[in-house]
Symmetry: C2
Subunit: 216 residues, 2 copies
């Protein structure tokens, strides 16, 4: 059965692959699992039909027969459990890879996401520079810790895993900020993720949606 | 083998059970799994010995023989996978329970955590009231969506699961704000979680640590 995911009809990131359907597209491409996409307008995301799938009215969702899931982390995990290549077989290594999934979404992402939000919502406030600077201090603390842990390894714990997939997608939000470049091993880590053929296929697929919406 | 978790020597929440060791203690109590606790000072959390266990220098960690984990979500999941009662057996129901775990930590928690942070860090800033109000608007949007989804059910999806455990721990951070009371089904949901004997044992255990530290 071909799973169906939802994505933005017109992503607010301008096709940079920062919306959360990218996490799921990338995981499906790593897994070699074909999928269909249903595109949603911002209006449709808040309508009862979509709220029945996603209680918070967001994207992505994942439908596969009787199963309907939301939350990109949970969807990536579901895919990773059912296909080779995203979670190690060894029980302890698997638990550690899952730890990095949660670390990406619950420790690294919040201040990075807040910075993106502040750049949109608070830009004209008199305290904008102060707020941005505080957020960037928090982000740098996390990046510094992550950089120390990664060291000169290719991936966070042995082979590439769903933990790396989520961490790379979270760190990509910092591109253009200059912060990632302060930690050369983290820049190289993100570049290593982006160089994976599955990443490229996922990226091109989301970009094609944006391009079609912009020229259509 | 008895697992060992780490917790604050003196929790900044004054024994309210809001620190993240509470998530893990509660899961271990639901699972009927005895555990040991190693208490850490704020200084010790940033020292190399602890950073080897937790790259971001936080609590909790979880050690069990050769395995060392961090991130409360990942630790709760590890416990839930190995013991009955925290994840359903049916594959689809299990995937949905895991979805609620990620939703608690990646969708509900960030604005709630930010509000707690703002109340400590930004209280004397000229823009404090504006920032607090914006955060509370975000939180109310999420609470409203969650309340609609929960309806008059006891738990988020069928029987109590690790998804409920994490959601209740996250919502407890709002106690005293008055916001939870705006959604009576969510207040009742949190109360239902707190009434579980395993919650009470976990709560009492973390409170005993705080009380000992305060009177010692």
């Amino acid at each position: 059965m071909t799973p169906i995911i939802t994505a933005f009809e017109r992503s607010p990131d301008g096709g940079k692959g920062l919306a959360r359907d990218m996490h799921v597209r990338w995981a499906l491409e790593e897994a070699g699992q074909p999928y269909d996409v249903r595109l949603l307008s911002f209006k449709a995301m808040k309508e009862p039909e979509h709220l029945a799938l996603h209680p918070f009215g967001q994207i992505p969702t994942y439908e596969e027969g009787d199963l309907a899931l939301f939350e990109s982390g949970a969807i990536v995990f579901h895919i990773a459990e059912r296909h080779a290549g995203l979670l190690p077989d060894d029980a302890n290594a698997r638990a550690r890879a899952i730890t990095w999934m949660f670390a990406a979404l619950n420790t690294m992402e919040p201040p990075i996401f807040d910075r993106d939000l502040a750049k949109v919502l608070d830009r004209d406030e008199p305290w904008y520079e102060q707020r941005l600077s505080a957020l960037e201090d928090s982000i740098r603390k996390r990046l510094s810790d992550l950089s120390s842990r990664l060291g000169d390894a290719d991936w966070l714990d042995g082979a590439f895993s769903a933990g790396d997939l989520l961490m790379v997608t979270v760190l990509r939000r910092l591109q253009g900020s200059g912060m990632l470049e302060e930690y050369p091993n983290l820049s190289a880590y993100v570049a290593r993720g982006e160089a994976r053929p599955a990443f490229k296929r996922a990226f091109d697929a989301q970009l094609a949606v944006f391009t079609a919406a912009s020229t259509g």
